[in-house]
Structure formats: C-alpha cells, structure tokens
Symmetry: C2
Subunit: 409 residues, 2 copies
C-alpha cells in the first residue's frame, strides 16, 4: 500500500490559533482520488525540526505533501529546510522572478526585494505554478518519496493541488483507482440505525459506504469505481431503503427546499421565537430559498410559566396563520418559545396547518438546539412540498403532541 | 527546550471527515501553561503505524499526549499499540471494571462484555480517571518520554487533560513557567496596523504579544508571567494606544454591548435586509443582549436598480425610526439592501439617528459579508452606548457617505 504523508508547518497551526482546514481538505480530496493519507504531521517554524520531519517522511512514505512556509518573511523556512534535508543548495528560478515582476506590474507596483526569496528553490527541484500568488510550489524526489511543497494560503494551495499535483500523481501511479463519491443527506436517523437499515445491501467489489455526521444531518457517501454504471442505481436503492428521512440527494436540505419553492412558485414567511433568527439567517446562503423568502421575524419569547401544552401548539398555529396572512405569503413557518424544554413548531400552507410539540432527547448547547429546531421546521416544509407526511419520525427527538387543521375547516 | 508531541488517532480525523478540534484546544491550553507543542501527528486506526509513531515520539520527545482509540470497539487499538511500543502485555484493571459497572448501574443497565476491553491497560501503566465516560486514560514512561493516553470524546478529553495531566506536568517540570493570557478584541484595524501602533511599547522580560485573526475581529493576547503585577497596566496602555477600535477587553463585542444595554436599561429592535437575520441570530448566544432584544426583522431586499446614494441612506434611516417607533424600543439597528456593493446601515436612538453607506474593500463570500456588515451595525451601537463617535474608522471598509440627524430636529 502506498504510504502518503502530509506535513503542515507554522506556529499558528501548531499552537491551535487556526484550525488546519487545508489538511482536512487535502485528506478528503486525496481519498477520493484513491490516495488515502496514512499520516499527517504539524511542525512549527523551526528550521531543524522541519528538515528532520521532511527527511523522516522521505524515508517512510511514497508521497509527501508539505504545506506552508513559502512566504517572503524570515519565518518562512520551508525551501531552506527542503535543501538541508536533501543536502543541496538553493538556486534562483529566473522564470519565477519574471512571473512575480509581471504580477506586481499588473498591480502598478514595484516588486519588493524581499520577494526574491520566493524564487529560491532547492537545486534540481521542479517548479509548480501558482497563478494566484507569489509563492510558487516545487516538487522533488528524495529517498523513497516524491515531495510536493505548497503554499499555505488556502486558495493557492487548493489550486496547486488540483492543477499541478493530482495529475502528476495519477500519471506516476496509474494503478491507483480514482473513485466517484455520491452523497446524500439524512435527518432524524442515527448512524447505527442507518447502518442497520442498509445492512441487507451487498456492495459490489470496489464499493464502500462512509458516514459523516454534521449536526443535525448525517451525510452518506457511496464510494464507487470511477464511472461505474451501477453506482447511481445502488444509491437509489439506499435512498429508498432510508425513505422519508432522506432530505437531499446530491444537495442539502435548504437547497432542496429552495428548488421546490421556486418550482412550485411559493413564497415563504418565517417567524422565530426559540430559533431566534437561525432559520432566516441560514437560508440566506441558498439563492433559491432566499428568493422565495418574503420576511423573517424574530420575536422575543415571553411565555407565561403556566402555559399548557395545547396553548403552546395553539399559539404557534395562531402566529403561523397570522404571519401568512399579514405578509400574503403562501407558506409560513414558526417556532414558538422554549417551555419546559419543549418547543412548538408550525407550518401554515394553503392546504392546512400543522403543528407539533417537540423535545430533543439529548441536551444541546443553545446554538445546536436552535439548529436542531430550525431543521425540523425546514423538514416539515420539505415534506409538505414533496407530498410526504408532514410530521416525520426522528430518532433523536421526542414528539409530545401534534395537530393538523385542514384549510377548509 | 522541552520537546512536546501530540498524536491524534482515527480514520475520521485522518481523512478529513472531522476537524481535529481536540488538537487545537490542547495546543492553546499547553501553550498557556508554558508547554508549547513542538509537533503534532495524526495516524489512522492501524495497529502497526500507531505503535511505530508512539515509539518514534517516545525517542524524540519529553512529553507525548496520545488522543483517541480507547473505545470498546475493534478499531480502538491504542492500548494495544502502547503495549507493543513498550514491549509489555496488557492487564486488566479491576478498579476500572468496578467503576464501569457502577456507571452502568446508575443508568439501570448491565455493562456489555465488550466494555471489559476498556479496562485492559499496558502493564505498569498508571490509570487516569475519567468521571464522565467509560474510557479511562493512562500514563506511562517510555524511553525519553512521559506518555499520556486520552479518550477522543472532547468533553472527556478536556477534563482529563485539566484534572489529571496538567497538574502532573507542573509537578514533573516545576521550572516551566505558566503564563497568564490577557485578551482583548479590536475591529477595523489590520494586523500590521496594530503591530505598528504597539511598536513603541517595550515589553518587560517574559512578556509576549500574540495576534489571532477571527473574522472580522483581531484578538490581541498579552502573555505575562503568572500573577505579574504589571500585566494589567500594560494591557491598559495597549488598549489606550489602539483607542476607539478596541471593542471588548476580556469580552467580545456582543458581550460588551449586552452588558451596556442591561446597565443602561435600553431595549433594542433590529431590522435586517442585507444581513438577512445574521445580527439577530448572532445575539441569541449572549444572554444580556438577548434579554434586551425586543424584535428582529428580516426583510426581503427589493431595491430599484436606479436607487441613488442618498435614497439608500434615507431609506435605512426611515426604516430605523419606524422600527423603533413601532416596537416602542429605545434603539433600532438597520441594514439596508446591498446596492452596487454598497450597504446603508443605520442606528436610531433617543438622542438622534445615524446612518452610513459602506463598502468592504475586499470582496467577501456572502456569509462573511453579512458578518462584516452586522459587526459594523453592532459597533455603531457599542460606540453610542460607550459615548464615542458613532461613525468609526475601519481600515478594511470604505465609507461613501454618512449622515446624523439629532433628535430635536
């Protein structure tokens, strides 16, 4: 099996001031191309530690991606560490000096002398293009490994990996099988529940199922040999097995709801108490949903301590119909106040009004609780738009009561 | 210098499915206690790779924290890897079996047999308590290093590090100087601008300044020898040098605004177009601000293409006064629609109304843009509550125009 390592550099990453999102991104991308990482290391900006780590990885791995430390300042030491590890000198790439000068000319500025450092590469290294910034990357062979040196700026890093590195790897290791990844999302099922439901499936050779929990959804990934014909029908079978709780195939819940709203030309108003604007704010990133969202309200939640269950439901329903009428929207979604850990959520439509009183089985941080309740609201709407039972079954949520009032009451 | 390493285990972390927040947290905490990490490694759930990594770190480091892989399932291999690396067997801790039985009794359930695996520790290892879960940790000396094995569940991990590990380290390495960390936040200044402003300061021995950019704020950290008397006056000097753009000392902007609203007993209403509910939703996590927030509106932004600058300002002002009157709030904050990359934001108070038309100098993702504009809104309120100039100077934001209408107009 290929041994593949990544080395991240930089004090900020090491001391936890920034999360290493480049590493997570590379891991995912490489995995999909069949190049699963076997180890990742983070070291600070110390020349010797960095050179030692590069050498260690060059002896134990086949492919090593080194990220960061290619900038113009004195604590950017990666090229020098690479030269030490491979026992060569640094030499200037005249080509890259020219490229940097062109970049600065376009900005109407003179290139600072400090940038010359960024054109100093270990002797014999192959330059990797960076069309965005001034930090070129480079590739070199050392001991057992191919080493790829990349800039820390995420946009520059990602472009270099995709355009320069992955094609080189695919050429160098043609037997490594790239895989397709088909995704869909579920809401309201547990990972063990999903795995049990899918257990009757027998996967063809080269197929694999992965889960990723991203509160409150679980993403299900089907890895398949690239271009394999069975992949889509297999995914369809998985989707059917999981039924109602699949909230988006190849798309997220707000994307799906947005599409359905646009297709059916329906406008939406939202009134939020316990969710405090979460749902309204969440939908802003999804153009279709945003286009159909007419108004959002956040109302301070003043409940009376003695409020009964049926009052909570009735109040959410009343707000939903009022919100729909006041704004002349086709649909209204409402979250009531939190009362004794319970929340009423309501959906008002031309066809009738639904409300349910729910309680999460676990206790969540307030932020996560809003997320959870907002997702139930959006899921009610998804179910209605998609002609499914509006009141769903969720493993992690307890339903205390529910009500449906048809429009022609 | 002490060499301190962390090893994270688990396929999910390695393949980028989850971000390694435990590592970032440990790095920060250790740094504050004077134990700066020198390297971090992530390996998958492979017995041999894990054992090799443990051995490698035990030869090159003084302190190693290993995280994850202490669960009851077959892919939890850390104890076994530790035993292989140190060439000893595993033995059952009867004490821990008892502890687990008690935990299960409290839940009214029988302990599954599979949990016995969690009481199997390398011979000679010292048990580390886990009052929350069933995965106990353990400590052992190997080669040059003290090894600490910890569970992957964040709450259990954090408790074990704080209660079991840090005190052991402080005892074992009494010369390592713990440091205090005093924090404050700025908005509207660049890192290089801040560093230039603070450059006249001469720091006493043992002091250090750190920056952390967390869009749209920059957090400034002053590290000081523990309990040193000068620390607070030095921080005060830094705060004075940076002036108006300091938005919170030891607290964040929404915390500060919330405190000031409660202290001055003022209620708030928010109407958002371009920010789409961001500000309303943001304030939900801050009890003081939430308590004084009467209503939030998100209005769909239908601008006419020909809208002039003064109309944008006038419309934001009109919405602000209307929102304040309609809800009988003391204060209203408003963001208008985005028009030609510009946004009008307005603040209405008993003392008068302010509005400014702003444009970010860089282009941001829509999410980040809402964050930025919402922060300007909140900063206007902070400045007003704190008796400062309401219209601030921000390096990253261009102001196109501004207006002030006193209340007695």
């Amino acid at each position: 099996m290929l041994q593949i390592a990544m080395i991240s550099t930089g004090e900020e990453v090491l001391h936890g001031d920034i999360l290493d999102t480049n590493a997570a991104w590379l891991s995912r991308l490489f995995f999909q191309h069949g190049f699963a990482l076997s180890r990742r290391t983070t070291v600070g900006d110390q020349l010797e530690a960095l050179a030692t780590e590069i050498e260690h990885c060059s002896l134990t791995s086949d492919i090593v991606v080194i990220n960061g430390g290619l900038g113009p300042t004195s604590d950017d030491l990666t090229a020098q560490a690479a030269a030490i590890a491979s026992d060569v000198g640094l030499e200037q790439s005249d080509y890259w000096v020219e490229q940097m000068q062109v970049k600065y000319q376009k900005l109407g500025r003179e290139m600072p002398k400090t940038n010359l450092k960024q054109a100093m590469l270990p002797e014999g290294a192959e330059l990797l293009e960076n069309p965005i910034g001034t930090a070129c990357g480079f590739a070199m062979k050392l001991n057992r490994a191919w080493l790829f040196f990349t800039p820390g700026v995420p946009s520059e890093f990602k472009q270099m990996v995709q355009v320069e590195i992955v094609p080189r790897l695919t050429r160098a290791f043609p037997k490594v099988a790239a895989r397709d990844c088909l995704r869909f999302y579920t809401f309201g099922l547990s990972e063990s529940g999903i795995s049990e439901t899918l257990s009757p499936l027998s996967l063809p050779k080269g197929y694999e199922i992965g889960y990723r929990s991203s509160l409150p959804f679980i993403e299900i990934k089907l890895f398949a040999p690239r271009g394999d014909e069975q992949a889509h029908s297999l995914q369809q079978t998985m989707v059917s097995l999981l039924g109602d709780n699949v909230v988006g195939v190849g798309k997220t819940l707000p994307e799906l709801v947005g599409e359905l709203l646009v297709k059916q030309d329906l406008s939406l108003t939202i009134a939020e108490q316990s969710t405090g604007g979460w749902l309204t704010s969440w939908l802003q990133d999804f153009p279709n949903a945003k286009a159909k969202l007419r108004q959002g309200w956040m109302l301070a939640a003043n409940t009376e301590p003695e409020m009964a269950t049926k009052d909570l439901l009735a109040s959410a329903l009343a707000i939903a119909t009022a919100a729909r009428d006041d704004t002349a929207s086709d649909i209204a979604l409402v979250s009531g106040p939190v009362h004794d850990e319970k929340v009423a959520v309501a959906l008002s439509t031309p066809q009738g009004d639904w409300a349910q009183l729910i309680k999460t089985k676990r206790r969540y941080a307030s932020n996560d609780h809003r997320n959870m309740v907002a997702t139930v609201m959006l899921d009610m709407l998804r179910r209605w738009l998609d002609d499914r039972a509006v009141i769903g079954r969720y493993e992690s949520i307890q339903r205390e009561s529910e009500i449906f009032l048809p429009a022609d009451r």
